[in-house]
């Protein structure tokens, strides 16, 4: 356990949580302890472990998030069709109720592991971990995780991936980054999907969508594309190829990358619990001991 890890204690909030001592007695014989650990620290530890799996195998992992029906699976299908000969791709599908999306991916000749945990509204690092153990990462260059269609919940859970790609289909309106700031602040790349429909929509303004994204202090690129017509897809493929190159370099330097949304505290703060993360027989009872490597 990293009791005092305080992953997101920042200079700005520190005074709110600081107490006199780590353990202090109150009058009635009760003890008060200062903890300062993330509410999702269990998930974060599991995510760090997942990231370690990806990094050990030199795999780039991308988390796709959007509202339901924004075109995540269609984007994956078109990406597999275009890059399948050049990159070995695997997909973790967070379609919780049906096998539809996984089947669409498998029809492309690509491994798709379905996460089926009923009606959850987001994926978490533990779900992704079990899926990863049904995948041969040695054979892959790139793993997509298609999250549950939801613009709220998935943003709070690190899955151990390297990049958040958030889709906003042009039929949803250009104000979505302002309405869902937590989600869009986390985006490393914003894809304005179904751009072929721009011709019939008179009120979607790409510039406005991008402005709303900047107002979240996010400098992520925004790309217009259509999985249906192929327009704009080359820029997306270029981004992917670039990130795969970056991931290979990071792996060679024994570094990793944590997705965009990290508080200042997290980037300032590095710690190593000193446990060597060994992948021996007891491998997966040790989520809480996964070694952290925060490199921002």
């Amino acid at each position: 356990m990293c009791d005092t890890c305080g992953c997101n204690v920042t200079p700005g909030n520190e005074h709110l949580v600081r107490a006199d001592g780590k353990l202090s007695r109150t009058d009635d014989g009760k003890a008060a302890i200062t903890v300062l650990q993330s509410l999702v620290s269990e998930n974060d530890h599991q995510a760090a472990h997942n990231r370690d799996h990806f990094d050990r195998h030199g795999v780039l992992s991308v988390n796709l998030m959007s509202s339901p029906g924004s075109g995540k699976t269609a984007l994956l299908e078109a990406t597999i069709d275009a890059l399948g000969h050049e990159l070995k791709i695997g997909v973790v599908e967070g379609d919780l109720e049906t096998e539809n999306d996984a089947e669409r991916i498998r029809a492309r000749g690509v491994t798709a592991i379905q996460i089926s945990t009923g009606s959850a509204c987001h994926l978490d690092a533990h779900m992704v971990h079990s899926a990863l153990h049904h995948m041969n990462l040695d054979e892959l260059d790139l793993v997509f995780i298609e999250n549950v269609g939801n613009l709220v919940c998935p943003a709070s859970f690190d899955l151990g991936h390297h990049h958040n790609v958030t889709l906003l289909s042009v039929t949803e309106g250009d104000d979505k980054p302002a309405k869902y700031p937590v989600m869009f602040r986390a985006a490393d790349l914003m894809l304005l999907s179904k751009a072929d429909l721009l011709a019939v929509l008179d009120d979607f303004d790409t510039g406005k969508a991008e402005r709303h994204l900047r107002e979240l202090a996010n400098n992520a690129p925004a790309l217009e594309l259509s999985a249906k017509t192929g327009a704009g897809m080359d820029a997306w493929f270029g981004w992917l190829r670039h990130q795969i190159g970056e991931q290979r370099e990071r792996v060679a330097r024994r570094e990793t990358r944590v997705p965009a949304v990290q508080s200042e505290g997290k980037t300032l703060h590095t710690h190593d619990h000193g446990h060597i993360h060994s992948h021996a027989a007891t491998e997966h009872a040790h989520a809480a001991r996964a070694r952290h490597r925060h490199t921002g």
């Binding site: 356990m1 909030n13 709110l16 014989g29 903890v35 980054p177 107002e215």
Partner: protein, 124 residues
């Protein structure tokens, strides 16, 4: 409604800390939440009794401190309190800011009822 899974995480952490600190019960839990964490305080408060039932924190008081969003401008270094969807510097208008407060979701502290029979190995 991911607040229920977040609550379960809090309870698991509280159980581990109770064991570590030789406590039989957790009577109070203080969390610190910011608007940019994606956690809704009202939903968290609603989920807590459900998640804590029959746990070491059954009946514990959950205290939620909700912070404002504060950004620091990377251009002029000014700090501004802002709305969660307009993280702009109030002095120079730049969007190149860093969130210094308001995206936290922290377990801040616990109040424990100690086991009286055993020595308090962690007292300071």
């Amino acid at each position: 409604m991911h607040e229920l899974s977040i609550c379960r995480g809090i309870i698991n952490q509280a159980e581990a800390l109770a064991v570590e600190h030789n406590a039989r019960r957790v009577t109070g839990i203080k969390v610190l939440i910011g608007p940019l964490s994606g956690v809704e305080p009202a939903l968290l408060a609603q989920a807590f009794p459900l998640a804590s039932a029959a746990s070491v924190a059954d009946g514990a008081e959950l205290q939620i401190e909700y912070s404002a969003v504060v950004v620091r401008c990377t251009a002029c270094d000014t700090e501004s309190e802002v709305a969660p969807n307009r993280l702009l510097c109030k002095k120079c208008g730049a969007w190149q800011t860093q969130v210094i407060r308001g995206d936290e979701m922290l377990l801040a502290s616990l109040e424990l009822e100690k086991n009286e029979t055993e020595p308090d190995r962690l007292a300071v």
